[in-house]
């Protein structure tokens, strides 16, 4: 798919969970590895499903600003309790850190290196900064900058995050391309004036997962991998 209009894109900002790293597969594998008495894929889905309502609690003010490590831990405690699983504190804390060691998709590291040749590449995730640094080190992801919702005390899709990223990169919103596997993230970015690239990750929610719906042509770019996105940006 060709971009709908000429563009002057200088920087690419990346959603991380699901777009760059495979949370479902990594968490399912960890649950198996540590011998938790529950089905790993379902556990991963339940953990992730607790995340939008937890952010909404922060957004509404019901919960003071809490970073993703803190939100992940609250959800973890709940889904463990729902299964009647009791873990020693040190093991629960270690399990919560799996979000710092998620494996990238097969094309992520090499695709980012390719995209970096012509553009600034930065994370733009709701993950806290230290988590994103650890993910980048774990996966060999060569980001130029680690931008996080934590820098703005707002979670995506709040506009403060997208506009704050453009400001820190010293760019106009239209010079920033938001890259995500989630149409809702891209729509919020577009509403702030950013350009959008939809990278399809059909396995994000496991083999039976259903991606968010989107309309053909809804985004400036649509690609099946970071390599394909690089080819489209070069063309």
């Amino acid at each position: 798919m060709l971009p709908r209009m000429p563009h002057d894109i200088r920087a690419l900002t990346f959603d991380i969970f699901g777009t760059v790293v495979d949370w479902y597969g990594s968490i399912a594998a960890e649950v198996t590895r540590i011998g938790l008495p529950t089905e790993g894929g379902r556990f991963a889905l339940d953990w992730r499903a607790g995340y939008p309502p937890a952010m909404q609690e922060v957004r509404s003010g019901a919960l003071p600003w809490t970073n993703i490590d803190g939100l992940h831990r609250r959800i973890l405690d709940r889904i463990l309790a729902a299964r009647g699983i009791v873990l020693p504190e040190v093991e629960a804390a270690a399990l919560n850190r799996i979000w710092h060691r998620l494996d990238p998709w097969p094309d992520s590291a090499a695709g980012l290196a390719q995209l970096k040749q012509r553009h600034v590449i930065a994370t733009l995730s709701n993950g806290n900064l230290s988590l994103l640094v650890n993910l980048a080190r774990h996966g060999g992801l060569p980001f130029d900058a680690v931008l996080s919702a934590e820098l703005f005390n707002h979670y995506k899709p709040d506009p403060e995050v997208y506009l704050g990223a453009a400001r820190l990169l010293d760019l106009q919103p239209a010079q920033v391309l938001m890259v995500a596997a989630h149409p809702s993230d891209l729509r919020a970015a577009a509403a702030c004036g950013l350009r959008t690239a939809y990278v399809m990750r059909p396995l994000e929610k496991g083999p039976g997962g259903v991606p968010e719906a989107s309309r053909p042509g809804e985004f400036d770019f649509t690609a099946a991998s970071f390599h394909e996105l690089a080819r489209q940006l070069a063309g």
Copy 2:
């Protein structure tokens, strides 16, 4: 020199101007390259000398928050005027951007790659984030994260910068090692509880320059290069 006590250092934060990149040599070369009718080394020194008082104007509230690009431009206009040099706006703006293309010291890129093997490495500079991203790309500097005074709306040596970096890295101050060629920067970091590494850059202010004074043994580490610092941290 050996560290004075056992340490649990997890991350290294780097001063940039003078510690990682050679502002004096890069600016003097640029002044010559563009044919400015003035001595390049003196011009570089004057430009840099305007920087602490400009930051003090921000700190005191005399000037609203202004990033380093903005401060550099104010100083540039003044030192050009003092020399009776009139530049078209586009050329003055281009000259101001030399601060985004400063060359690293010969050991910087390889030394940072070595230090990165065992520790998180981040910038911690008064330079704005987009400037630091451009410096890292220009010099092939493999930072894990780009931290800037701009994220805290405070300039070093204000404590908010050092403590803010530790917070974003999710570390205790004593787990962070501030690396700088400037004793004043290191003393402010130590006052916040950070560990300190003095890396000597005797040519920072050119061949006749005199470094800030310091006492032997004043800092946790003292090294002549990033490679030597890596050896000390490993030992």
